[in-house]
């Protein structure tokens, strides 16, 4: 029920509080009212046709780096 899918913003319609997002090559219009201003290239988490939050790509990178650190620690040199 709380399924949220990350979608890439390809078109914004600020006057309608909506945006067109692309998920696995499929485009659809969604409401952006709950997240405020969005720009092309943003990633949004979409739930039942409404964006509920923006996805922070910088934070995603930090998490991935963290994992790489963890993995390096135990087996040095194994993870590139």
């Amino acid at each position: 029920m709380c399924l949220g899918i990350p979608g890439l913003v390809v078109e914004v319609n600020p006057e309608k509080d909506s945006a067109v997002i692309e998920v696995f090559g499929v485009r659809r219009e969604i409401s952006t009212f709950l997240v405020g201003e969005v720009s092309r290239g943003d990633y949004l988490i979409v739930h039942t046709g409404y964006a509920i939050e923006k996805l922070d790509v910088e934070e995603a990178k930090i998490r991935l780096e963290l994992w790489e650190e963890i993995l390096k620690d135990a087996y040095p040199g194994q993870v590139s």
């Binding site: 029920m1 709380c2 990633y43 739930h47 039942t48 046709g49 409404y50 991935l64 993870v79």
Partner: protein, 370 residues
């Protein structure tokens, strides 16, 4: 490779899982039994089953499902009310697909549909509003079933209907909030839990901070998790680290989406439309402060106030253990009806019907490993 694809990297996954297995062994030695973690989100339930994590970590740690599926925790009385709406003349019932096949005490929306009730599935509450606009001669009652993730979108649909001046769109709110259910679980002296995997998209709305009581009042570790297998394995890693260090914190493992304070616009939408109420959850009974009811200002959009259908006393089918399951007291396979009298084609309880129900997930992905 795109950055988000890396969250599915099997190499990182395998390596992280090895670390988790090693830490789980240490924790098991320390506790004298495998540590028990509960996920409180149906999407996590499915992700865990699908990835086969339970099998991979068998004997090392135990993963239990909690009250994380909004359809499953919906009380018999509420389902019977939903069915009753469908019997009113001129009324069309709009719902998310998961609710259609859930058995009430005597019948389900699906069976009512076969008998001629007008039951329509909508992907989005916005689509339901559009349908109401296009069909002014019908009264559309939309079934609001969801947690904090879904409730703001339902509130927004009502605001939309209000702006359009629609007189034929109402919502039956069976929406619920998650933290009071965590309180109820934690306050149960029989509960033996070593940590929570907290729901990522509920948390996107309410934020990390609201969960601090789990650590402060109950001394239990918890981690907010995303929905890739890697996110979940990482959450287990975080939980085990806390268990081994004897710490209790609410970690945010889903910082790419969840903020400390959550989403203020969505919270404002909830505050604008709903007030908190004491409502009944399947298996738990009434949980104080756990339901979202329409504020008096939105009475015109409150299906309960508008139609007040008559509903008989609920009749609860024998043998279904959904209630205990939702409290984490047993796993689907421990229910005698699982995969015998209760299957997805012939379900006894909601946990076998909802795509996010634990019984449905076990049936689909973990039946053979039993």
């Amino acid at each position: 490779m795109h950055i988000l694809d890396r969250f599915r990297d099997p190499e990182i996954g395998r390596a992280l899982l090895e670390r988790v297995a090693a830490l789980a062994d240490q924790a098991r030695e320390r506790l004298g039994r495998p540590p028990v973690f509960m996920e409180v989100c149906g999407t996590h339930t499915v992700a865990i089953s699908k990835a086969g994590l339970r099998g991979l970590l068998d004997g090392k740690l135990e993963l239990r499902s909690g009250p994380g599926c909004p359809v499953c925790v919906t009380d018999y009385g509420d389902i019977d009310t939903m069915v009753a709406f469908g019997r009113l003349p001129g009324v069309t019932v709009g719902t998310f697909g998961d609710m259609v096949r859930v058995p009430g005490s005597r019948t389900s929306l699906e069976r009512e549909k076969a008998r001629g009730a007008d039951i329509r599935v909508f992907y989005s509450p916005a689509d339901a509003v559009r349908w109401a606009q296009d069909n002014p001669d019908r009264q559309l009652v939309f079934l609001g079933v969801g947690f904090e993730t879904t409730a703001p979108t339902i509130a927004l649909s009502v605001a939309q209907a209000q702006a359009l001046g629609l007189k034929n769109y109402t919502v039956f709110s069976a929406n619920k909030v998650v933290p009071p259910a965590l309180h109820a679980l934690l306050a149960d002296p029989e509960a033996q839990l070593d940590g929570f995997i907290l729901p990522g998209h509920v948390s996107a709305i309410i934020g990390r901070r609201v969960y601090d009581f789990i650590a402060e009042d109950y001394g239990l570790p918890s981690v907010i998790s995303g929905f890739e297998t890697l996110d979940i394995v990482d959450a287990l890693y975080g939980l085990l680290k806390q268990v081994l260090a004897g710490e209790a914190r609410v970690e945010n493992g889903y910082t790419r989406v969840v903020k400390e304070e959550g989403n203020p616009r969505a919270q404002a939408m909830l505050d604008r439309c709903f007030e908190i109420d004491d409502v009944s959850w399947r298996g738990f009974g009434v949980i104080p402060g756990s339901g979202l009811q329409w504020k008096p200002e939105y009475r015109d959009f409150d299906a309960r106030a508008r139609f007040a259908p008559e509903v008989a006393e609920p009749r609860i089918p024998k043998g279904c253990r959904c209630g205990d399951l939702l409290k984490g007291k047993l796993t689907p396979r421990e229910c005698k009806l699982f995969a015998t009298a209760c299957t997805p084609t012939d379900p006894v309880g909601p946990c076998m019907v909802s795509s996010e129900g634990a019984c449905a997930a076990y049936y689909q992905y973990e039946r053979r490993s039993s």
